[in-house]
């Protein structure tokens, strides 16, 4: 930590010796400022999450006043639950696809928009539009597009003579998961596009000019100037997308409720079904604990990087 940061508050106290190596804390005052937010955070996030962890060691049904502590039984049961295996797999597929595809499309759009194009602002506005809509409304819109009988997608296929491809996209095992990922991709392209575009704009034009003078081709410039400059943007995009992907719930709940059968179950919806439909709150919270632990574990490097001083 830079000495300068430690200096400023120390002078306030008028303390003289030793302030270079011993940081002086602000006493109680900072905690008064911190208290309201920390109290809310602990009450409505930390404490409930901890309580869920406790419930996951019980056989509570969610309704009765009593329950027994059953140790790791819920976690053992998960290893024998084929839906949990499927949900974990779906979570994995969801995470990979809804990160990789939007990043590739977003980067492509950013590179195109960074070139010689008119009307960049309205174009950017249009591509980012889905990002501000509620997930539930996106689910409604796409559920409507996917409707097997009068939905736009099947109608379009019929109109261009591919009527044989028209099918109940959300209603069959083979296409349901892909069909719920498409709206998620639609929703998520805008964010990497904006970040990459800003990063591309930040590359000094002189770098390209110098490279041109040195005889570098366009593809060489893309590879040796553009791509390395995008590294910080890659990091932010991937970290944030990863954090977001593990939380998937709204879209699946609103579009398929995990169905047909269990084809689109993810950990979040399977947890919900166990708690509110099958009255197995203990088991349901154990599912939530597992996916939360995974989500937290993979995000720790990003979280740690954010606690450092940017000086």
């Amino acid at each position: 930590m830079a000495t300068a940061t430690a200096l400023a508050p120390a002078t306030r106290e008028g303390a003289g010796a030793g302030r270079q190596n011993k940081k002086r804390y602000g006493g109680l005052r900072p905690w008064l400022f911190a208290l309201p937010a920390l109290a809310v955070y602990v009450t409505f996030l930390v404490y409930p999450a901890g309580t869920s962890l406790f419930f996951s060691f019980t056989n509570w049904d969610g309704l009765s006043p009593t329950y027994d502590i059953v140790g790791l039984a819920n976690y053992e049961a998960m290893t024998k639950d084929p839906v949990v295996v499927q949900a974990l797999l779906n979570n994995l597929v969801w995470t990979v696809v809804t990160i990789v595809v939007p990043v590739v499309i977003g980067l492509t759009l950013a590179i195109l928009l960074n070139g010689k194009v008119r009307g960049k602002t309205p174009l950017r506005l249009l591509f980012y539009t889905p990002c501000v809509l509620p997930l539930v409304s996106i689910a409604s819109i796409w559920g409507w597009l996917y409707n097997p009988d009068y939905g736009v997608i099947n109608e379009t296929l019929r109109a261009v003579g591919l009527g044989s491809l028209a099918q109940p996209w959300l209603g069959q095992d083979s296409t349901a998961l892909a069909a719920v990922m498409v709206p998620a991709i639609w929703l998520r392209v805008g964010f990497p596009m904006l970040l990459y575009l800003a990063a591309l704009q930040g590359i000094p034009a002189e770098q390209y000019e110098a490279a041109t003078v040195d005889g570098a081709t366009r593809s060489q410039q893309l590879w040796f100037i553009t791509m390395p400059s995008l590294r910080p943007a890659h990091y932010i995009v991937l970290a944030l997308s990863l954090i977001d992907s593990f939380k998937v719930f709204d879209m699946i709940y609103a579009m398929t409720y995990g169905g047909p059968g269990t084809a689109t179950q993810v950990m979040g919806t399977w947890m919900y079904a166990n708690v509110f439909q099958y009255y197995q709150a203990g088991y349901g919270t154990a599912i939530a604990v597992v996916i939360t632990v995974i989500a937290v574990a993979v995000s720790i490097p990003y979280v740690l990087s954010q606690t450092k001083e940017h000086s």
């Binding site: 940061t5 508050p9 306030r12 804390y25 602000g26 900072p30 905690w31 400022f33 309201p36 937010a37 920390l38 809310v40 955070y41 009450t43 409505f44 996030l45 409930p48 999450a49 869920s52 419930f55 969610g62 195109l112 070139g115 010689k116 194009v117 008119r118 602002t121 950017r124 506005l125 249009l126 591509f127 539009t129 501000v132 809509l133 509620p134 997930l135 539930v136 409604s140 409507w144 009068y150 939905g151 736009v152 109608e155 904006l194 704009q201 930040g202 932010i236 954090i243 939380k247 719930f249 709204d250 709940y253 919900y272 708690v275 919270t285 939360t292 979280v303 954010q306 606690t307 940017h310």
Partner: protein
């Protein structure tokens, strides 16, 4: 609060880079690009075609839709679908509930987050990094791990089926992102300014309210907008806590509306539009702030 994640990128924002300046306007390349412009325009129209099709469907009579299909141009225009959907979807209630939640939650959330961010950035708080780590870790916690205990808490407080019951959980899940952005912004304020205010005898509260907050107005606006989007769109807590139709927020209300209108395409389209058009208008008006806030982080490099 799924919409919140993009805002994280603003965490690394530099004060002068955050708002107002449109990064795209900086290096104009006026000439040429006709082919690229046409291709991108076609792709963009295709991209938002779901919304365009909703508009043509919502504005035509059901009979016209049934006879000609969703892809045809309407032969007749009508507002009747909107009138019908507004009443059946109870949008007057859901709009009121969502708006009430927004005006209570967003200012309160920004205020307490700013206070915590100020303590972390400028007051040399003990265990600073531990607190930061614990709070930022909240970004990664899915809402569904907390829903059972939160429901039990709110039920014993008599706050279920009441939009006010959502304020606490929404605040808690908004705090990590807001603190992350604001503390990194506050840190850019030179210590010397705060120091001289102290020498003049200003208290920490006075420094916070009359110096730090006004200097950080752009960041506060960005955080407030991101938080408003997340609050407006939140679904899971609202689904668990709110049960009667008149107490629901827009996302939950839209879902039950969708169930009732499954065979009335034009009415369904009108209802979806009622739910999203105000957001789209707000987005178009505020897009500069949203885009500026989101991209400031990436530019830092």
């Amino acid at each position: 609060m799924s919409a919140s994640a993009p805002g994280l990128a603003a965490a690394a924002a530099l004060p002068d880079a955050v708002i107002g300046e449109d990064p795209l306007a900086r290096r104009p390349r006026a000439k040429g690009g006709v082919v690229a412009t046409i291709i991108l325009s076609v792709v963009a129209i295709f991209w938002i075609s779901p919304l365009l099709l909703l508009v043509t469907t919502g504005l035509r009579p059901l009979s016209d839709f049934v006879a000609n299909g969703p892809l045809s141009w309407p032969t007749e225009w009508t507002w009747a679908n909107f009138r019908e959907a507004w009443g059946i979807g109870k949008f007057a209630d859901t709009y009121r509930n969502s708006a009430l939640l927004l005006v209570i939650k967003v200012p309160l959330g920004v205020l307490i987050s700013a206070m915590l961010a100020f303590a972390l950035a400028k007051l040399n708080m003990r265990f600073r990094r531990t607190v930061m780590f614990a709070v930022f870790l909240g970004l990664t916690i899915p809402i569904y791990i907390t829903i059972v205990p939160v429901f039990i808490m709110l039920r014993s407080a008599g706050l279920t089926d009441n939009v006010l019951g959502l304020v606490g959980p929404y605040l808690a899940f908004g705090i990590p992102l807001e603190v992350l952005i604001l503390q990194s912004f506050f840190r850019q304020i030179p210590d010397s300014i705060i120091e001289s205010a102290r020498i003049d005898g200003a208290s920490e509260w006075r420094i916070f309210f009359t110096l730090v907050l006004p200097l950080s107005l752009p960041a506060l606006v960005t955080v407030a907008i991101l938080d408003a989007v997340a609050t407006w769109n939140e679904f899971l807590f609202a689904l668990i806590i709110l049960s009667s139709d008149t107490n629901k927020t827009i996302p939950v209300g839209l879902l039950s509306f969708q169930g009732q209108f499954s065979n009335n395409n034009t009415g369904l389209a009108a209802g979806i539009l009622i739910a999203v058009v105000p957001i789209l208008i707000a987005y178009a008006l505020l897009q500069r702030w949203i885009v500026g806030g989101l991209t400031a982080g990436a530019e830092k490099g």
